[in-house]
Subunit: 340 residues, 2 copies
Amino acid sequence: MTTLQRVAERAGVSTATVSKVLSNTPYFTEETRRKVMEAVEELGYVPNLAARALSSGRTHIIAVVFPQIFDAIFTDPFMLHLLEGVEAECHKQGYNMLMSTPRLSSQGFDAHYQQLIQSGYADGIVALDNIPARSVLQIAHERELPAVGIGYHDNKYHVRSDDISGATQIMQHVLELGHRQIGIISVAEELNFSVRRRLNGLRSTAEKFNMDFNAFPQAEGDFSINSGARAAGELLNTHPEITAVICLNDRMAMGAIQQARALGRSIPENLTIVGYDDIPSAAVFAPPLTTINQQAPEIGRAATRMLFEVIDGGNPHPVNVPPVLIVRQSSAPPLESPRA
Amino acid sequence: MTTLQRVAERAGVSTATVSKVLSNTPYFTEETRRKVMEAVEELGYVPNLAARALSSGRTHIIAVVFPQIFDAIFTDPFMLHLLEGVEAECHKQGYNMLMSTPRLSSQGFDAHYQQLIQSGYADGIVALDNIPARSVLQIAHERELPAVGIGYHDNKYHVRSDDISGATQIMQHVLELGHRQIGIISVAEELNFSVRRRLNGLRSTAEKFNMDFNAFPQAEGDFSINSGARAAGELLNTHPEITAVICLNDRMAMGAIQQARALGRSIPENLTIVGYDDIPSAAVFAPPLTTINQQAPEIGRAATRMLFEVIDGGNPHPVNVPPVLIVRQSSAPPLESPRA
DNA sequence: TAAAAATAGTTAAGCGCTTAACTATTGCGA
DNA sequence: TCGCAATAGTTAAGCGCTTAACTATTTTTA
């Protein structure tokens, strides 16, 4: 490994001058710059980043943190898309990403994660902060490490998907198709921060159409395909008059479709079913799902840009990323619908 | 931030003694250990890992490298599952993962990736090494950085999915169902290393059943859903007698199913269609796909264990991870089949 | 014309940790 | 009982880089 010292000898200047030229710190002549850059090129010099990190106090590494509950993160394509956005911004700024996937126990997040945060390895953190019981960024705040949360924890610097807007769009879509007998497959609010906001978006949109949201029949699932099937079964048995079902995520929508079919309904001809999240399976499902896409890459990009601003001493505003309605073949007007 | 120096002062010993106790290097008394550990706990000491990396020459970070072609990696769940396996082994050994997703241009992999490899930040690399045109690990070999490749490049240390075994299992499954009129949806061999081996596995299994593989009608796709649909259309138009189609991946199988349906075939009753890879959509497709699961988490684990062995000076053997046949509802015996 | 400011390059110290070499003491074996 | 080996702890140097402070020269301003 070639050192800065050897570059300095080759260029006939001090190591401080080499450092100055490489970091573009004033003052040096064009001749000095030429001599240094020639030596760098001839020797194939690449800086030792651990040394640079130690002396400058800056690593140009950010930690990307996805907390693990039930190992779900490694099966969730949302994670990959967040990562895509984070990576794109890191690449632009010459930063590297250190992955951390902490496990929560009764004593808090595991020791390995705690050590990483305090290790001096990362200039800052972007974290998916979505476990209601505990914020994964608390330890970063205690250490005054720059941090941006993705999700609903009360972090000063955060990026969120605008679940109210997403729910508004999906409810509006269903109502504009002419549906009035609408079932809701919901989830217990303690499981996930976004549930309340999705329900609020559905409610406020129904009210704009002068409909009483509380009169819509509801059944409860737990985000899984099976729970969606069970909930759809309940709804269709107790409310056979419904012409549409809004599910709070895609997997429950898939289960609902399977169950509705088993109960003799055809989709979407006499029952419209819509989901939320636009997981990859949604597009290839039969029929392809109408759903809400959260634009995870853009969330990842916005969070990372925000973190760089915090690291550079800025004080950026929180960001809400608007989701996008994706209309596919699982939704259609009801058969006897008077178009409103 | 508390330093080792302050711990030494608190415990009343030298910094070298603190370092010794923390690394369990001989020799120290039980009394000295107690004094040091008390000081560590009272001061909440956490080592600065950049300093440790600089002086010891070891970071306890490995680089996890997924080369980018056409941004496909951020939509491929296989990546997430590899990462799952790598992360599990890193967690066990107290290592951290530095993600790198280099881009290939005509001049080779990008400068950011090259700097990362030479930076002293990573003790070693686990890389998905699957671009036929160029090995992502060449630069690591030049720098004598410990490296393990996942895939078919000729790396000394590598882990591969046993594509021959996977293809053997899927062909055997189709033949044991009684199919003899079998179409193959293939891919040009230059696109991906695994194609030849999958075809070889299919061929050798057919020969074991005394069948001439070259007599099976073939059409070519490019791994995409659309190409699968086109290829299936060709096959069914020129060979309407076929009772099964083997596709070299799941997405082509999905396209083939959609096209076969459009051409009046029911799946699997009068046409069995099978895929390869067990992507998440396979399980929720209609009908759920019979396919081959590559056990990506186990590949990630094996590669990471191998890297730790190389870092510690060992000389491990390459590993082939056996895929698993997943039978679902897209395959069934042919209607007029004499069970062989 | 003299003083102040800017330019250019260097010296010196240090970032926090590791560990080889050294020193002193104790224990073991012949 | 003496010499060698093991134990215990310390000293000293260094890993590769950054940058504040310093020094010398040139340029600008009043």
